[in-house]
Subunit: 291 residues, 2 copies
């Protein structure tokens, strides 16, 4: 049970965390900061937070749990703002989709409080943003990846694990580098491709006529292209090396398939498509039966 | 009301059509052919068909409606098989995802019965195949594209339109060439990309570890990669020129995005991603409110 959650950033991710924590009876009070007054007013009105903080450091002050849930681009500034106010036993987490850059920011900004920071990536989200979409069930049954270093406080790491587990999440640990390599492959690249695909439709004169004919396959394939441009710009930049490596690898696969189609090589097409089909058919979300 | 539907091919598409037609009270009897006896036995047992035909021509004989729902690769053979048995007023349709190649096959095989053929593409499907997945609701509320030529019998074209409308479909007409160009963009290319993406994951040593971390975005983006390899091989080959042109166009968009990421060009990334986001956010399936 936490006495006070300091929420730095009251958007979809932070707001959903606060609601889930409250519902689970794990926090007495939530103090929230957002640079937008409209956001904190709404968060207060929705019961996401109990008190509006006037700054990030104000939100951290007196908290025994701080969640930094801000766009990646302002993570370091947020860490700088809270560093002086952190009490010695306060657990600090983030929710970012990239982890190496967050660790760099924490290293640069948190000073002797660095050990209190447990980098976290809950694999959850929606194609909408803002506190108005905050949902206490956003994290239910999702995976959370923690990327501690050898400097991370072991007690706080256990506490971080316990919090997410109490929200119904499956918690895993790995290095930030392994995390970023894996998510470049299974998340960042698919987003890059979905954005590029919609771009390629947009670039064609007949795009409106084409789109009228699009069906359920198109709907599912392009759903992630509705992701927030600022969020995804930040992710692509933060994880550029891994994302570009995955994109290069993808282009090799695409070129092999294109070549087979161009040459009318029926056997090669079927082999390539069958391998893709098999891998996808065997996969399930979190090992569940959901396809 | 039809006296007899001759079903040539008793898979997901054909079986679902028969079930929908029966439920709507639009057919008295369904006679079905499949080269696989297990399939026709199951179709009979499920009530998809009322009588097993021993050949495609047997299924066509005495029918006033024939649906050819076979893999694209055997469409022409199927037309050849039924041509002699078609009565003068019998409406013939297919359900193929490509239309120029089907028209070529019909031209070559149907002879003086060509006018009775109304090429049809219902935009519906599942990532599973086989009569066991036949579903009377598969076509409910979907779009059906008809691609008649100036040789198509006008009365039968009206009848074709009425049948699909009676099943709850929205019917549109366009040329086969326009159809194939549009579907290369909104269906065939997404499948090519989804297959290539899964291939690129499969090609990496850490693929199993990566896949354990994949979330809901990955699930939706790759759902179509579970499509039937034989079906998609046939579609890529049948519509190769348009598919490769779309793929080329896509690669230009991907390269522009990659370049922006490589150069750390934050503004360019945001512009490209925002355009993609906007086009996708405004799109709805069949103009409905479903995203």
């Amino acid at each position: 049970m936490f006495e006070q959650l300091g929420l730095v950033g009251c958007g979809l991710m932070g707001g959903s965390f606060a609601l889930a924590l409250k519902r689970a009876g794990l926090v007495k009070k939530v103090v929230g900061f957002s640079p937008s007054q409209a956001t904190t007013s709404r968060a207060l009105h929705m019961g996401v937070i109990d008190q509006v903080a006037t700054s990030a450091s104000h939100a951290a002050s007196g908290s025994d749990l701080v969640l930094v849930a801000v766009p990646v681009s302002v993570t370091q500034l947020s860490f700088q703002a809270i560093a002086q106010e952190l009490s010695n036993n306060c657990l600090v987490m983030d929710v970012g989709s990239t982890k190496s850059d967050v660790l760099l920011a924490a290293n640069a900004a948190l000073g002797d409080k660095l050990a209190q920071f447990v980098p976290a990536h809950p694999i959850a989200g929606k194609e909408v943003s803002g506190v108005e979409h905050a949902d206490p069930d956003l994290y239910t049954a999702c995976q959370v990846i923690l990327t501690p270093t050898d400097r991370t406080n072991a007690t706080l790491l256990k506490q971080a694990t316990a919090v997410w587990q109490a929200l119904g999440c499956k918690v895993r640990q790995m290095t930030a580098a392994d995390h970023d390599a894996a998510f470049a492959a299974v998340s960042h690249l698919p987003h890059l491709l979905a954005f590029a695909f919609m771009q390629s439709i947009a670039s064609q004169q007949q795009s409106a006529a084409f789109l009228e004919l699009a069906g359920p396959g198109f709907r599912d394939f392009t759903r992630i292209a509705a992701g927030d441009p600022k969020v995804w710009r930040a992710i692509f930049l933060a994880n550029a090396t891994e994302v570009l490596a995955q994109s290069q690898n993808f282009r090799s696969s695409l070129e092999a398939l294109e070549r087979a189609v161009l040459e009318g090589d029926s056997a090669a097409i079927e082999t390539l498509v069958s391998q893709a089909n098999q891998l996808r058919s065997q996969w399930t979300l979190n090992g569940s039966s959901s396809k």
